[in-house]
Symmetry: C2
Subunit: 206 residues, 2 copies
Amino acid sequence: MASTEIPDIVIGRLPVYLRALSLMAAAGQEITSSHELGEKLGISSAQIRKDLSHFGEFGKQGTGYRISHLQEQLRRILKVDREWTVALIGVGDVGQALVRYNGFRDRGFRVALAFDTDPVKVGQPIGDLTIQDIATLPDVVREQDVQIAVIAAPAKAAQEVAELCVQGGVRAILNYAPINLAVPKVIHVQYLDPVTHLQRMTYYLA
Amino acid sequence: MASTEIPDIVIGRLPVYLRALSLMAAAGQEITSSHELGEKLGISSAQIRKDLSHFGEFGKQGTGYRISHLQEQLRRILKVDREWTVALIGVGDVGQALVRYNGFRDRGFRVALAFDTDPVKVGQPIGDLTIQDIATLPDVVREQDVQIAVIAAPAKAAQEVAELCVQGGVRAILNYAPINLAVPKVIHVQYLDPVTHLQRMTYYLA
């Protein structure tokens, strides 16, 4: 089946399945089922089976899924059976936390470049990296074939930053700044704004 | 229409509309349209009109929406026309960034309590707060009627933290730890794991 036929909402659940499987594997578990996975994730087992069926046959009726095999297949499908180089833009509080975060490496990502506009920060080390001038971003990311950027810049700078990323050939942006980015439709954008997530829940509170 | 009839995916878009309207208002704009809003957000104008129609009539055919009025109505619908007290658990890199984040206050939230397990951190100030012992969490949040928690604890601690939150009467959890939480169905949970968001995009990359 062509990948374009699979709904994005299905793709969005695959990383969640992979994360749950990795936790099970880390705990020494070898086999799981759509039922168990569903219980853990609050998703119906039918939904999980249907999602996975887009990509082939991963378990046998009655015997469940071999976790290592399913992990391997999901990593291949999501293309995280390799390491993606990520450029981080904005080395404020959030950016610094991201550089120090040790949860990227074993899940397919390495923050290998850090940029900022602040002349005081440019040239300074952060973790193993040296903060680079954002003006150099398009050339640097193009040269290193970086396809993924994480924007942790302030809201008022984020649109301009996104444009520099697109200029440099970036294809996917994870945006922490609390604004919607105007970028060409071929660019993938995911948003991590804690407030929109909180507001989505207050609707339901008394 | 009863609120329970409105799909959660619609509710999820309302904070995004509100955020875009607030940026327009901050730029001095007074009127917008579903067309303009849709262009900014990459959502069809028909979708926006349909989403808003669940809650009443907010604009006039041909004259668009008065931004201040629509903001006011969305704030009321999302219940962020008030200030919610938020408890933060885990004062590591992410937690510290959240305490310092100045984008909560004008959007309906105030991080008023901070908890950690680390005896070195407990009792220390962070911003205007004093870090409290997590063992006291259920009593403290119940006493102060805190309904919202932000979990920025490590993955291995997050489930236990979530249970303490639920014990204390918390109804909504924003979880930064990269695990799915097992909590009663009445508890609302939103997840902010940068890696799942990145993996959702790598699927589409070459």
